[in-house]
Assembly symmetry: C2
Homo-oligomer: 203 residues x 2
DNA sequence: ACCTGAACACCGTTCAAGT
DNA sequence: ACCTGAACACCGTTCAAGT
């Protein structure tokens, strides 16, 4: 009881929003629901998140992004670091599947929370011989590949109930492949992409 | 006036929803707004879209997907067809930027509307020497890469107002690169990915 | 300074009633 | 068969009022 009476803060509001999203989905994350999670009235939130719901949701994206970036342990080897970035990103997003779509829709918020990653990754790539421009492109390509992949993954798992009901044999095969698990396909795509990027080193 | 009195149908409801989404965004696409677009009351829609808003939104995804798939002109050369698929997908999604996130969140609906594409593409890849499993994986990897890329693109353009306000020099550079246009980065990523996939032909 | 009650203009959806 | 008015249980947000 006394814990609920703890002082409200921007941080606590955003954390409560993430909790609601993880447990009940983005749709259910209303100002009223977040307030109730904190044992408070909806209107109280606006004192700590003046921008309203939009700012609160941006805060959730930044929180998840920061969590993941600060846990990275970069080595300076571009290919290793890029793969680790992609795998760790996917792992974090798997912990918060309902946040993936929010991140995908807010690239500027996501980039803003990723300075600690982007800098060292650029350096590693330029040290390896990539041009500045190709390093920029590569980071963007791998980020989006990872988000795109994980987003499909989050939705596919959610929709697995629909998998069985295909009479079209090819689609049934596609969905059976999805049901088998995504790890192999993720590694397949990641390696293909990194191979393709590495080939650009010669040119 | 008389046009507005035209008989309602599932097709007209879904088309009206797409119009509202294209013009005003997903958020504004309420049952009431779609009904108003058709000169009708919200409750009338339920007679043609019994599943309510969810079914209507699924219908919008299927409509956009079908539009794009039926316009494809496949050649049987896997690399050419895969590139064309990705480019055409991106082009269609650029015409409906507000629909991208909806598609990304409904992979099963999207696949269901893509039979005409998936079949020939598999054949072309198997003819070229890919295993069935690698063909499956490749299609999924390229689909998701394209969706992930286009989704970031749609959001980045929307958020371009935020580009200028970076004091962090690296992020400013990233956003300047984004502002320069995405075509080059798209082609860079697509070619890298296809190169990586082609390399799997040897293994 | 921080929290809140009441109110406003919206939602999706149900259901009984109209034609 | 098709359309609709009224109603229900929700939204985000404002604003004046409380402490």
């Amino acid at each position: 009881m006394t814990e609920d009476r703890e002082r409200l803060s921007r941080e606590r509001v955003v954390e409560a929003a993430l909790t609601v999203i993880d447990e009940s989905g983005v749709t259910r994350c209303s100002m009223r629901a977040v307030a109730s999670e904190l044992g408070v009235e909806a209107m109280s939130l606006y004192h700590h998140v003046p921008g309203g719901k939009a700012e609160m949701m941006d805060g959730v994206v930044a929180l998840v992004q920061t969590e993941f970036v600060s846990a990275l342990d970069l080595t300076g080897d571009w290919r290793h670091d890029m793969a680790m970035f992609s795998r760790a990103y996917r792992a974090t997003l798997s912990d918060h599947p309902n946040v993936v779509a929010m991140i995908a829709a807010r690239p500027s918020v996501a980039y803003r929370s990723s300075t600690a990653l982007v800098g060292p990754l650029f350096s590693a790539m330029e040290d390896a011989g990539f041009s500045r421009q190709d390093a920029l492109r590569a980071v963007r390509v791998v980020s989006r590949w990872t988000i795109g992949f994980t987003m499909g993954e989050a939705s596919a798992i959610e929709n697995s109930a629909a998998i069985a009901e295909f009479d079209e044999p090819l689609l049934a095969e596609v969905f059976a492949d999805i049901a088998r698990g995504e790890d192999e396909v993720f590694e397949f795509g990641l390696e293909a992409l990194l191979d393709g990027l590495e080939a650009r080193l010669g040119a």
